[in-house]
Amino acid sequence: MSSIAIETHGLTKFYGRTRGCQNISLTVPAGSIFGFLGPNGAGKSTVVKLLTGLLEPTAGSGAIFGHPIGSRQANALLGFLPEHYRMPEWPKARDLLGYYGHLSGQRPDRQRLAEVLTQVGLLEAAERPVSTFSNGMRQRLALGAALLHRPRLLILDEPTAALDPLGRRFVRSLLRELRAEGVTIFLNTHLLAELEQLCDHLAVIRAGQIVATGSMAELAGRQVEVTLRAEPLDPQRLAAFGPVTALPDGRLRVVLPTSDQVPDLAAAIVQAGARLYELVPRHRSLEDLFVELVTTPGEVSAGG
């Protein structure tokens, strides 16, 4: 089996003349948790729907563990939790899971159904009709439906949207367990804290195009934002280290690719003949990265 869970090349979708996404090229390593991030309307759901075969691409191609996206072979390997889903209200939770299991090409026995219901914390509600479920319970049941046939890839579109903090913690823990079992998880969420806690790799989409992709360490963890006060100093002398911004209070902010460059920056300031009064390094958060990527033009690629 391929070590690449998802691979796309120039995946493009236009709705008439409106661009859903364009030239999406992604590589998701097997066994990882891959975060997919972008502002509202950026094209995240379009990409997710292309990967699950719900949309036909206008151009480009993609594969799930080597099988063309949208094919039955690819869909047999993935479990999907859509963002806007609705489930039949009348069946009991156990029966509904059984129905989805049959559609996934399996005949789930009572033991497997009980396993999944336990996994999503709904075993005690197994004999209750879905109509009596809260939103959070429905979300967990939908997650169970995605897990039932033991998929090798789980594509989750806003999986914790309807959950309270305890429910979110439960899902995070479940996703970590699944990763430990070797399941690849493609996670589309707005919740940056969740991505920071869970993801190994990340891609950021803006206006239908990927603007950053790489490992979390490369994209967010290693970058350091340094705030400094040094006089007299021409900010241009620090431009070689990274983007320099003059703050209103007279201090400067420099974004360094790695923390290894902090001593070099200090040395450069001193060599320039300036007196260094303050230098505060801070690792950049995912939120900082996200805000920068979706508000400034250009593309960042950290490989990976």
Binding site: K49, T52, N75, A76, W90
Partner: protein, 273 residues
């Protein structure tokens, strides 16, 4: 178990879970009771000459079967819209077609599940009408049961058409389109009737051709013709109604149903969700 069978079985069970369906059955007893009342009133009406009585009964039965067919066809369209059409809009179908299923199988399963419910309802209605007719007036149209499957075919065609349209557009547009086409073809049948009465062959032919756009009216015409002939020989009024659709219409109806289903399956397969 094949995809279509899983979906069909689930869809049928879902229909049977709906309260509205169980309300529909007793509600349908109302027009049947009204029909029985009219039949009894006619029996006691001294104004009807005896020579015309069979013919009047034939016309009453014809009108009842036409009204019922229109009603069930409309219900079939609504059933398609509120189930399959809304499923696509609400995101429910995404939970199904993102699995390793054939989309064509899902579409076919939806039709078979809904169709089983619609056909059972139509058959029940037809049998209730004929039993009411027979018990009330002691007249049993010979071979009335032969027309039973044809009577159920017209609503099934309507169902398939609505599903096909909903695979191509939203449920509201599909419902409106299917119901407008139903209305148009029944009006075309009236055009055919008017052409016959006025002895205008071109108008009659136009009516025949236009009513082929949806064979529901023609299929129902075959049914009513069959049961009328099962009661007695054609009289003056029947001759004025024109000729009954031929057996070829049954073949056309079946081919139309298969064609619409194939077109629906192709549209569902290509559709973006």
């Amino acid at each position: 178990m094949a995809d279509w069978a899983i979906v069909a079985s689930f869809q049928l069970r879902e229909i049977l879970q709906r309260r509205l369906v169980w309300l529909l059955v007793p509600a349908s007893a109302l027009p049947v009771a009204l029909f029985a009342f009219v039949l009894r009133a006619e029996a006691n009406d001294p104004a009807t000459p005896e020579v015309m009585r069979v013919e009047v009964l034939q016309q009453l039965l014809t009108m009842m079967l036409i009204a019922t067919c229109l009603l069930i066809s409309t219900i079939a369209s609504f059933a398609a819209i509120v189930t399959a059409g809304m499923d696509a809009e609400s995101g429910r179908v995404q939970m199904v077609i993102s699995r390793p299923v054939r989309r064509q199988g899902v579409f076919l399963g939806q039709f078979l599940g809904l169709g089983a419910g619609v056909a059972a309802y139509a058959a029940l209605f037809y049998v209730a009408i004929l039993l009411t007719f027979g018990w009330t007036r002691g007249l049993w149209p010979s071979g009335w049961w032969i027309a039973l499957p044809v009577f159920t075919l017209a609503p099934l065609v309507q169902l398939a058409l609505t599903l096909w349209l909903s695979a191509r557009s939203g449920p509201v547009g599909a419902g409106l389109g299917a119901l407008l086409l139903l209305l148009f073809t029944w009006l075309s049948s009236l055009l055919e009737f008017a052409g016959h009465m006025l002895r205008l062959p071109k108008l009659e032919l136009s009516g025949v051709m236009l009513s082929l756009l949806l064979p529901g009216a023609s299929l129902n015409g075959w049914v009513t013709g069959h049961v009328r002939h099962g009661i007695g020989e054609p009289g003056i009024i029947q001759l004025q109604l024109g000729s009954d659709p031929s057996g070829w219409m049954l073949l056309y109806g079946l081919l139309y149903l298969v064609g619409v289903l194939l077109a629906g399956m192709a549209a569902f397969r290509r559709r973006d969700f």
